[in-house]
């Protein structure tokens, strides 16, 4: 069981959260983005083997999104923060 430290609620069990995927993506501008930019945003992922920045939704808690840096080879959680905050530790 992962223990995810919610910045608002403190350490909580993984089962309170639902996974929302890669946190490094920035939605392209509706006005100016090209089709290629949309393709890259919607479909392509870095999928790194190591530290991975991702979003979890605290669905059964405060219902806010939490940014998590987690090593996907060990499942160790390195850092957590609010969705727009910077995480500590080395990752991408």
């Amino acid at each position: 069981m992962l223990e995810i430290k919610c910045p608002w609620c403190g350490p909580r069990a993984q089962t309170e959260f639902s996974y929302a995927g890669d946190a490094t993506l920035t939605r392209p501008s509706l006005d100016t983005a090209t089709e290629t930019e949309w393709y890259e945003h919607v479909y392509l992922r870095g999928n790194p083997r190591g530290p991975h920045d991702e979003l979890w939704h605290h669905a059964a808690g405060c219902r806010r999104f939490v940014k998590v840096r987690r090593d996907v080879t060990t499942h160790e959680i390195i850092a957590t923060a609010g969705p727009h905050e910077h995480l500590g530790g080395g990752g991408k």
Partner: protein, 418 residues
């Protein structure tokens, strides 16, 4: 290669089974090959075998970072089926199923393919209608399917709770009689032995650490056992496709997730078919050793670890017990995890890439094992001819940019949802 037969068995019995030859060699890597396949699982070894058998290319190395068949080939729930609705999928998987039916004879290796049937359960009237439609689509595409009513399902799986007050009442089911299970390790061993006999070098404990690319053309690979040159390199590395693609500077429409499976303690024969439920999401069969083999959902977060977490194990077990209440007294004997490369449309990628001579075979999501022979067949064709086979052109990498996704469930670009 010593042919396995009743006569070779008898001959070796007379000498106490002490003189069986090794099933395959363990050669040192040569400095250069015509083709390198990365990944010695079923898909990679099968690709090498069909390159040799169908295309006459025998100067091949299959590189494996661990041991042969130690990845997802040895970590799945051994189910073989071809029950897809989309024509692009059904034609491919039906081809694969036909290859399963002759595999043991072709490889001279008993892969214990058992066509015990695969039943998908329907839990609502709407699902029965959808299954009828899917079954008709399968038949139109040359495969086999039968719609079962609850009484027919009960007769095939007496321990299944088919009562009206079941938590998820069973309204019907779609049976593919030619589906079933196979001995998963046997598939890797059979392909390894047959490929080795045709001159393929299988090199274990040899991890690829980099790809050599110059002017957009692959020229070889860097490994933990030195550099090896090759004009063509194909990868069949299951969940690690994204990691290998990074070495070629590519981002893929793939996320790696962990999928767990588990077995109970062995019991006497009690389930002689494969039962799956998409609504409850679990699948169960009984191995020849008597263990009940179970699986369910992904853990639903990115992972390259070959192990998962307890919440999913509890979820799978509770699903199984909901459907088979009498299994609640069994103890769980083993659980394990494998890394799935979940693609953005739930369908695989067997394709050329922007790098000339570099081919990828991945994105298998939950379903790589059943595809093993078909995947190997068309991947070998793709590598040999530098063009896809007619059965895998639809699995090209560019389909995501071109809008030709093959999304069997209509789940959209969320890898975990397929």
């Amino acid at each position: 290669m010593t042919r396995y037969s009743i006569f070779s068995l008898a001959r070796n019995a007379l000498t106490g089974h002490k003189n069986w030859p090794q099933a395959w060699r363990s050669p040192e890597p040569k400095p250069e090959y015509d083709v390198i396949i990365i990944g010695a699982g079923g898909h990679g070894l099968g690709t090498a075998y069909y390159l040799a058998k169908n295309h006459g290319i025998t100067n091949i190395a299959v590189l494996e970072k661990g041991w042969l068949g130690g990845g997802n080939t040895g970590r799945n729930t051994t189910i073989v089926r071809a029950n897809y609705e989309r024509t692009e999928n059904e034609l491919f998987y039906e081809h694969s199923l036909k290859l399963w039916e002759t595999m043991s004879q072709d490889l001279n290796f008993n892969v214990m393919f058992s066509q015990r049937g695969v039943i998908n359960l329907a839990h609502s009237d709407a699902q029965v209608d959808a299954f009828q439609r899917r079954g008709n689509a399968m038949i139109l595409n040359g495969s086999d399917a039968m719609l079962l009513n609850p009484a027919e399902i009960k007769a095939r799986a007496p321990h299944l709770d088919c009562s009206a007050d079941a938590r998820f009442p069973i309204k019907g089911g779609l049976l593919q009689p030619r589906g079933g299970t196979a001995r998963h390790d046997g598939v890797a061993w059979g392909y390894a032995r047959a490929a080795d006999a045709r001159g393929v070098d299988i090199i274990q404990n040899c991890e690829v650490t980099g790809l050599d690319i110059s002017n957009g053309q692959i020229t070889g690979v860097q490994t933990t056992r030195g550099a090896i040159k090759a004009k063509k390199v194909g990868i069949a590395v299951a969940g690690h496709t994204g990691h290998l693609a990074t070495m070629a500077g590519m981002r893929l429409p793939i996320e790696s997730h962990v999928l767990q499976a588990m077995v109970s303690e062995p019991v006497k024969p009690c389930l002689d078919t494969v039962i799956t439920s998409g609504a409850v999401h679990c699948y169960i069969s009984q191995s020849d050793k008597g263990e009940l083999v179970m699986g369910g959902d992904l853990d639903f977060y990115n992972s390259y670890a070959q192990r998962g977490n307890f919440p999913r194990i509890e979820d799978v077990v509770s699903s199984v017990i909901t459907m088979f209440p009498s299994f609640s007294r069994l103890r769980l004997m083993r659980t394990w995890g494998g890394v799935m490369d979940m693609s953005m449309d739930g369908s695989p990628i067997i394709s050329k890439t922007p790098t000339k001579g570099f081919y990828i075979n991945g994105g298998w999501c939950y379903g790589g094992f059943k595809a093993t022979p078909g995947s190997a067949w068309v991947f070998a064709h793709t590598i040999a001819n530098d063009e896809p086979h007619e059965l895998n052109g639809q699995y090209r990498l560019e389909r995501f940019q071109q809008g030709h996704m093959i999304d069997e469930h209509g789940a959209g670009p969320t890898p975990g949802a397929h």
